[in-house]
Subunit: 200 residues, 2 copies
DNA sequence: CGCCTAGTTGGCAGCGACTGCCAAATATGA
DNA sequence: TCATATTTGGCAGTCGCTGCCAACTAGGCG
């Protein structure tokens, strides 16, 4: 861990890095499979480790928490979110910028099916939902300065917070409905519908 | 537990009920004190039980989870919320109805100081925040039919969800700012400010 | 008053997520 | 090939929480 053995682009150099990559993927896949098969709460870390062929201790070294086994490192979400939004043209409307961020995050999923499965799990498991909301709250705080700067005359903290939280609230409402409809339609359309209902 | 020994109004009848009441209060106070003194995560159930003079087992019988030690049964929040909103005149605007609900929930705190202390703890402790958001999400779902019915032409699920979630988002932004300002000003004023920022 | 019963309490063992510590295994570079 | 840097696994322990069972106690009855 002294230096990352893979150069940003990909192509793992050392054997270690390749093995790590492989193990990581194996764990992730096993976890997702078991979660969808028997539910998140009904799947223990011990079982995942056993079926993935690693020790519990190692599993925790790869992924710090059980939640991280879903969706890899969700920290990437935050990264993509802030990056996308700060890349928006300075004169773009706050709502437009936020929309772009939301779209970018949604695009992070490998496939429509994977996204649906994850959202389904997320919305049907209380503990997962709680964790996700918590992490999201941190993203929101990260976004604060970016959004505040984009508001007319530099908005106040509460106003900027409210705007950000509203965008996420719409994403929530949209994804929840999307799951209920078994993935029919486009989430972003639902998002727009939600935002329209709010901003009337 | 076969029948509640106190008639709705108050006046605990049996000695048992009185003892229970007393123990419950003692636990609650001890917990809140320790939480504010050393932080939520740094306070163990064992310590609370010890200092409150009950066994851990009993503590868990009174309050099912560690979170419940803050703010008693938060289920009351949900109750007050739905009650208040359904009591609003049928022709009232959705936003007005929601505002009334929010105000009613805020009025549930014993004092300004207590509210500030609770909010401070809530916003500074990740695990608490997560639990609270989760519980709130359930309240939101309870509100869905009520709000949907009040929207023009009976709104769709996503729209109603978005509206409700936005109201809570504003409450979040407001309370967070309120805490940062050490309780200066009125939360509802901040709430209005937030809502205005969102609805432009 | 004494006893029986129902409700209450406490202690113990155990589960699951998670961490620290130490020893064994393994890839790497000289 | 050997010394070194890393990685891995196992073990014990913490913390929230639950089930189970034995000890206790208030309340009602004769």
């Amino acid at each position: 861990m002294k230096q990352e053995a893979e150069t940003a682009a990909g192509a793992p150099t050392t054997l270690w890095a390749r093995t790590r990559q492989l193990a990581s993927q194996e764990i992730l896949e096993t976890a997702l499979r078991l979660f969808t098969e028997q539910g998140y709460d009904q799947t223990s870390i011990a079982q995942i480790a056993r079926e993935a062929g690693v020790s519990q201790r190692t599993l925790f070294r790869y992924f710090g928490t059980k939640e991280d086994l879903l969706g890899g490192n969700q920290d990437r979400f935050g990264q993509v979110l802030t990056d996308t939004i700060s890349e928006q043209p300075a004169e773009a409307d706050v709502w437009v910028a936020l929309r772009a961020g939301v779209a970018a995050v949604l695009a992070l999923h490998d496939s429509r099916e994977q996204a649906l499965e994850r959202f389904r799990l997320l919305h049907s498991t209380a503990s997962l939902r709680a964790g996700w909301l918590e992490k999201r709250l941190r993203f929101q705080e990260d976004l604060l300065p970016l959004i505040k700067a984009r508001m007319d005359g530099g908005g106040t903290d509460p106003k900027a917070r409210a705007v950000i939280a509203t965008a996420f609230a719409c994403l929530d409402a949209a994804s929840m409905t999307w799951v209920e409809n078994d993935g029919k339609g486009d989430i972003m359309d639902l998002y727009d519908e939600c935002l329209a209902a709010v901003r009337g």
